[in-house]
Amino acid sequence: MSPAPSRATKTEPWAIETRALHFYYGNVEALKNITVRIPRLQVTAFIGPSGCGKSTLLRCFNRMNDLIDDTRAEGFVLVDGEDIYRPEVELETLRTHVGMVFQKSNPFPMSINENLTFGPRMRGIRDRSQLDGIVEKALKSADLWREVKDRLKSSALALSGGQQQRLCIARTLANDPQIVLMDEPASALDPISTGKIEETIHELKRDYTIVIVTHNMQQAARCSDLTAYFYLGELIEIDRTEKIFSGPARQETEDYVTGKFG
C-alpha cells in the first residue's frame, strides 16, 4: 500500500498545528494556551493524568467538542495548514479527513459490512464493487480480514471486544482519512487485544498520521514516535518519545513518567 500522492505532495510539514488554543466548558478553562505541532506520518502520544485536557485537545482536532453544549474554543487549530474553526469549514469533510477511534468500541448495530461501508455510503458511494474493495482494504489494514472475511453479513455486535475495536479502526480507515485520532483505544481491552491494536498502529504509521491518547505509559513508549505530556490543561513538554522517557527536559514530566506522580 503506497501513500496517496496528495499526501506526498503536501507542502505543509505539520499534519496538525495549534496556536494559542484555549478551550472552555462553560466557564471552566480546560485547555490553556496550547501550541503544539503534530508531524506527518508519525505516531504522537498524549499522556497525562486524568482531567489534564488531552482528550479535549484530541476532540478539538475534528471538532467533536461541538456536540457538547456550552463549549467554546479560542485560538487556532490548523489541519494541513487550514484553520478548521472557520465558520465555512464543512464538518463532514473535516471529519472524513480526520478520523477518530473512541475509547469504547462502538460498532453500529448492523452487519460488519454495513459498519465498514457506513462512511463511504454517507458520502454517496453506491457502487458495490467499489464498496467491497474499500471493505477489504480497510479490514486488511486493521488486521481483521482473515478473521471476519467469511461473515461480513453477520452482526458486528457478535464480534469479541478486541475485534470490535479493530472493526472501529477499520471503519475509520474505510473513510480514507489522513489523520487518525485515537482516544485511549485499548484501555477497555485485555493484554492480547491491546497488543494486536498496538501492532496495527505500528503498521498504520506508514500511511496515516496518528494521534493517540493513552493512560498507559508503556504503550506510549512502545508505539509512539513523539510524546506530549499534559498537566491541568497545559502542555508541559513534547519531544521524541525516547527523550521523554529517558531524560525529559522538565522535572514534572520525569516525575510523571517514572511514576513518582500520577
Partner: protein, 585 residues
Amino acid sequence: MVSSSVQAFEPPIRTTSNGPPVLPPPAAPPGAARPRRNRWRDFLRQGVPAVWFTGMMACWIVLLLIGMVTLILTQGMGHFWPATQVQVQTNSGVFLGPIRDREEVPVDDASREAGEEPAGRILLKIGNRDVHGLDFRWFDGADIRSETQPVHAVVVERREYGDLHGYLQRVQVGEEILGEGPAAWDVLQREIRLANRQRRALHQLEVRYESIRQPLTRLERELENLTGARGRQPGAAERRAVLERRRAIETARLESQLNEIDAARTALHEQLAARTAVFITADERERTVQLDGIVRAYRPNRMSTPQKIAHYGAKVREFLFAQPRESNTEGGIWPALFGTVMMVLLMTVAVVPLGVIAALYLHEYAKQGPILRAVRLAVNNLAGVPSIVFGMFGLAFFVYGVGGVLDRSFFGGALPNPTYGTGGILWASMTLALLTLPVVIVATEEGLAAVPRANREASLALGATQWQTLRHVVPPNALPGILTGLILAVSRGAGEVAPLMITGVVKLAPALPLDGTFPFLHLERKFMHLGFHIYDVSMQSPNVEAAKPMVYTTTLLLLLLVVALNTTAIVVRNKMRRRYRGAAL
C-alpha cells in the same frame, strides 16, 4: 459475625480457636451483659410484613385478572352452544326452552317454622315473544309438574320476534303442502336455504334499482331543497324549471329499465310470501312463519356432538361477519368490528407521522431549555386529560369547525343536511389521534433516548450529517421503543369509548364506511364500535336477559382484539431487537 447457617456446617469458634471466643454463638443463652434480642423489632426491621403485604397485593391483582378472564370466557363462549330444550309443565301452562339459570329461593322465617323446605326456581328462555310478550320467565320449583326433553323440539331463529320454540307442523308453498310433521325436517331445511337465496337476490335487485335511479333521486333532492325559503330567492324559479325538465328526460330514459326491475322484484316478493312453515308451540298454538324470515332452524335435542360443534362454528361465523338483528341482541357484530378496526387504522395513520415527527424535533433538534421543558410538561399533561374532554374538543373543532367549513365550501348542495358537519368516522379517528398523541410522543422520545451516545458520536465522527445519523443510526436502536409506544397508543385507542360517543359512533350504522360504491371510502359516515356496542347492548337494550350473552361475547372479542394487538407489537419488537442486536446479545 457467625451466622446461624454457617454454624450448621462448622463447629463453633469456641472449640477450634485457642484464644477466647470472639463471638458467642447466637444459640447460646443470653448473658447478663447482652440485652435480649427483640424478635418483634427484628421482624419489623427485616420488613417481613412489607413482604407479606406487597405479595398479598400482587396476589389480589392476579386473582382479579384470573377472575375477569374466567368470567368473560365462561359467559362469552357458551352462548353459541345449542342448549337442550326442556318442556316444562307448570300450573300456568306448558313452556318449551333451554334452562338459563337455577337458583334457591330463600324462605322467610314464618314458612321455615311451618316446616317448608327452601324451593328452587328456574329461568327458562321461553322464546315466542310474539305469543308471550317476553322471552324469559322464572318458574318456581313448586309450580313445576314435569320436565321432559322432547326429541323433536325445534328452535327457529327468526329475523323478527326472536326465537320460536315449538314443533314442526308442515311446510307449504301457497296451498300446496310440501311435507308434514317431523318428517318434513329435510324439506324445511332445503326450503329455508332456497328462500334465503331468493332473499339475497331480492336485496341485489333493490341495490340495482337504487343505483340506476340515482340520477333521478339526486334531482329530486335538489328540487326539494328549492322549496321553502330558498325557493323564494331570485333565480330559484328558473332553476326549478331546468331541474324539472331534466327530471322528465331522465324519467323517460330510465323508465323501461326501472319497470323491468320492479316487475322482477314484485315476482320475487310474491314467491317469498307464499313460502311458509307452520309450527305448533308447546301450548298448542299454531304459528306461521314466512321462510325467508328464518335465519336457521335446528333441533338441539337431536343433534350429535359434531353437529353441535358445526352449529357453534356457524354461529361464531355469523357473530363475526353478520349484521346485527333484534336491536343488536342477535346476529353479528361485523359492523362494530369493522368500524373499530377501521377507526384504529385511520387513527394510526394520523397519529404516527404527527407524533413521531414531533418527537424527533423535540429530541433531536430543539434546543434544550425552559421552553422545551414547558412543551414536554404540556405533552405529558395532555396524556392525563380525561378522554371526554378530547371528545368535546373533537366535537367543537373537527365536527362543527372543520366539518362546518368543509360543508359550506364543498357540500353546499346538500345543506341544511350536514355531510362532514356531523359526527363521522374521520372525526372520531382524528379525535382519538389527538388523544393518543402524547403516548406516541413520549414513547418515541424514550426510544430516541435509548440510542447510545457512542453510536451517534461514531456516526458523526465518520463524517455523517445530523440528518444522516438520524436516518441510519438512530432507527435500529430507537424502533423497538417507538413501536412499543405505537402499540400502546393503538390499544388505548381501540378501547376508548367516551370521546367516540360525541364524535360519530352510533348504535346502528346503515352502511359501512368502506364499500363498493364510489368513492369506496366514506369518511363522513357514522360507524359502529365494539366498546360502544357493549355499552349499548348492556345498558340500552329493551331485552336485558336476551342481551346478556351478547354483551359477554362482544367483550370477549374486544379483549381478544386488544390482546392480539399487544401480542403483535411484542412479537414485532422482539423480532426487530433480534435482527438489529445480533446473535450475541
